[in-house]
């Protein structure tokens, strides 16, 4: 079957009742977590993960993708209406969105955000669907060295973009990779780092590591911040007023630019919705027709970040489905859901007709999710926003219970709960000492894949390290990986030298002024 027919068959699967129910629940959960400041969409995806165990693969991935997709959108409501960014990606939205609200144009601002999410989501999904086939064909030519180089590239990019300190991000990634080595080794059957414990023989369950680090760690973080209820102004309307065709045509360049940025950045591992949102806002400010007015409350300031953050979802999903490489925290959790069902996503999925249908069902669900989240946002957002009125203490307690019992429900194992708590506390400590959590989680998930491809390469090529640099694909990927590691340092050096130059210029000007006086 060709792409088009597979996509149609995928749509038919999505409209089956189980998948539709999962999709609607996912959209609601994603909206709820994204309007709550501090509870990110990744946490929503993580909390839902243990419940997917009893579902079919398609249904579980549709549920998680819907949470991910709507998590990039619903935060616009609180950012625009109440100046409360539910997610970091919503911060650029409030600069112009809040200014429009203050001018009494809240409905218009929400309308622009809705159109932006719809455009970004649909266009990038369409682009990614057309890229899925060619990408997986390229990936099919990968041998073990190329695959290791691809995983290595994914890891380094995520590390490089993870935080302010590259060494700290690398340390975190190494800890994650080490966590993944606990248990019985797949090649030799030897016990590694089990310290005689029966619990550790099968390795640390990555789902529990995820629930602990993203879920329980986040709960501890919220508790540590104290309880501050959000007070919402009672009179603000949540009505949405859609822009006219003429207004839309006027912003065609912004729409095209931001969709391209979101989709392309989505393809880069590590550049998540937040980075896409900020980059798109920055580009619009620099190159947009009304760039200088951005920040004063114009639609471009809403459209650019919203479109890019929603477009980045499809950008992240396709590398996951075709190469098995997650590029963000949320896609790492979705990869975990695949592994939980005993499926390793990758190019082989498109070769087999059954699994190809699964891939296209998931891709089709992205289109339905985009439309669904916009409809839900339009109709039900008033209800979703009410979640902000729930006292944080109650919300934290309920989420903690969900995280713990959800983790227990996975395998009915008490030791899993201890793993959740231990890794939750570890995540909290890591955050305190500025070790980013995301590289560790990605290390823990990608570790087995990296080790497997590394071991196979070393065995096949008789311990010859140079094979990673011999084939053009693996050499390019290794080069890109090294570049992504060096890039932050280079960027900092360039920034410093330009800052020095400008300060020298200022001093020279001041001296010239003093001389003329």
């Amino acid at each position: 079957m060709d792409t088009f027919h597979l996509l149609i068959a995928g749509f038919a699967e999505v409209f089956k009742w189980q998948d539709m129910v999962a999709l609607v629940i996912g959209l609601c959960v994603g909206m709820a977590v994204s309007v709550l400041p501090g509870l990110g969409l990744v946490m929503g995806v993580v909390l839902a993960l243990p419940f997917t165990y009893s579902m079919s693969l398609e249904t579980s991935i549709i549920l998680l993708t819907a949470i991910y997709m709507s998590g990039t959108y619903a935060g616009c409501y609180t950012a625009i209406l109440y100046k409360i960014p539910g997610e970091p990606m919503d911060v650029p939205l409030l600069w112009d969105g809040w200014a429009m609200t203050m001018r009494g144009e809240a409905a218009k601002a929400l309308g622009w955000a809705l159109v932006a999410a719809l455009t970004g989501g649909l266009v990038s999904s369409a682009v990614m669907v057309s890229l899925a086939g060619p990408l997986s064909k390229v990936a099919l030519s990968f041998g073990a060295p190329e695959y290791f180089a691809a995983v290595f590239f994914g890891l380094t990019t995520v590390v490089a973009l993870a935080g302010k300190s590259l060494p700290n991000a690398l340390i975190s990634m190494c800890i994650g990779l080490l966590v993944s080595t606990v248990g019985i080794d797949a090649t030799y059957g030897s016990e590694r780092f089990t310290f005689g414990s029966d619990v550790l023989i099968n390795g640390l369950p990555f789902v529990m590591v995820l629930v602990g680090m993203y879920g329980f760690g986040e709960i501890l973080d919220k508790i540590g911040q104290g309880s501050k209820s959000v007070s919402l102004p009672g009179s603000t309307s949540t009505a949405t007023s859609l822009p006219s065709w003429r207004e839309l045509w006027g912003l065609r360049a912004t729409l095209a630019r931001s969709t391209t940025i979101g989709t392309l950045l989505g393809l880069i591992p590590g550049a998540g919705a937040t980075i896409s949102s900020f980059v798109s806002y920055g580009v619009e400010r620099q190159y947009g027709k009304r760039g200088r007015q951005i920040g004063t409350g114009i639609p471009e300031g809403i459209v650019a970040p919203q479109i890019a953050s929603t477009a980045s979802v499809a950008g992240h999903m396709v590398p996951l489905l075709t190469l098995g490489l997650p590029g963000s925290g949320a896609t790492a959790v979705i990869l975990a859901a695949f592994l939980l069902h005993g499926v390793q996503p990758g190019p082989f999925m498109l070769k087999n007709p059954d699994s190809a249908l699964t891939v296209y069902t998931i891709l089709a669900s992205m289109f339905v999710s985009v439309i669904g989240m916009c409809l839900l946002g339009f109709l039900w957002i008033r209800l979703v926003i009410k979640v902000l009125k729930v006292p944080p203490g109650i919300l934290i307690a309920v989420i903690a219970m969900f995280a713990l019992i959800g983790a227990f429900a996975d395998r009915n194992s008490m030791s899993d709960l201890w793993v959740v708590v231990v890794f939750g506390v570890l995540a909290w400590i890591m955050e305190r000492v500025k070790l980013p959590v995301a590289p560790m989680v990605l290390g823990a998930i990608l570790g087995p894949i990296a080790e497997d491809s590394f071991t196979r390469s070393m065995i096949t090529y008789h311990d010859d390290w140079t094979m990673f640099f011999r084939s053009p694909i693996s050499a390019s990927l290794m080069f890109l990986a090294l570049l992504s590691l060096v890039f932050p340092t280079l960027k900092k050096m360039i920034f410093r030298s330009s800052a020095n130059q400008s300060s020298d210029l200022k001093i020279a000007k001041a001296a010239a002024a003093a001389n003329s006086n």
């Binding site: 340390i171 329980f216 709960i219 501890l220 508790i223 104290g226 203490g393 019992i405 429900a409 008490m414």
Partner: protein
């Protein structure tokens, strides 16, 4: 943070500990793990890497990165710096929460919950845990707290036991009887 050397005063031991302590600790643990990795037993195949190679590479990388950061921090801390230069804060800096005791209390409550789950059963343990976490989270109305904990525990019991058939711990003795009553009330078999 890095201003120790700008006025010529010696850097305090506490500052050294804060700057380097976590890295030194990680290096220490990594060295122990490297030794553990060296003792992994397997049947060696000539010309083929063993199961200890991959973890050893990661540990070596970990030690190298930590060593690099330790040296960098020592250099930055000892380097005389103009007073106007803003402090760089890229690495470890113990950033305490506004309420670290609340975090400790919530962790203790969770550990207690896990320890008591088998004895008290899911329902009773959850009522207590929810009440404790909500109290820690700032909800300080006892009656409201009690009613809410009971309601949420019932809701969780219904969701997990009746809807998704999870066999949650029943507890022992009288607590098992409470769990069975709750199961009947939520319609779980």
């Amino acid at each position: 943070m890095h201003g120790g050397a700008d006025d010529g005063a010696p850097v305090s031991p506490l500052k050294w500990l804060r700057e380097l302590g976590p890295y030194v600790l990680i290096v220490g643990v990594a060295i122990v793990l490297y030794r553990v990795a060296s003792q992994i037993s397997y049947t060696e195949i000539p010309g083929q890497m063993g199961p200890e190679r991959w973890p050893k590479i990661i540990i070596a990388l970990l030690i190298c990165v930590c060593a690099f950061e330790i040296v960098r921090r020592v250099v930055v801390t000892l380097r005389p710096r103009p007073a106007a230069e803003p402090a760089e804060d890229e690495g470890f800096s113990q950033q305490m929460e506004a309420h670290p005791m609340l975090v400790a209390a919530a962790t203790a409550a969770t550990v207690g919950y896990l320890l008591l789950l088998g004895v008290l059963g899911f329902f009773t343990a959850s009522v207590l845990y929810l009440a404790a976490v909500m109290w820690i989270g700032g909800v300080r109305r006892p009656v409201f707290l009690g009613v809410l904990s009971l309601t949420i525990s019932f809701a969780f019991s219904f969701f997990f036991m009746t809807l998704i058939y999870v066999a949650l711990p029943l507890g022992e003795g009288p607590f098992a009887r409470i769990s069975l009553i709750v199961m009947k009330l939520v319609g779980a078999n």
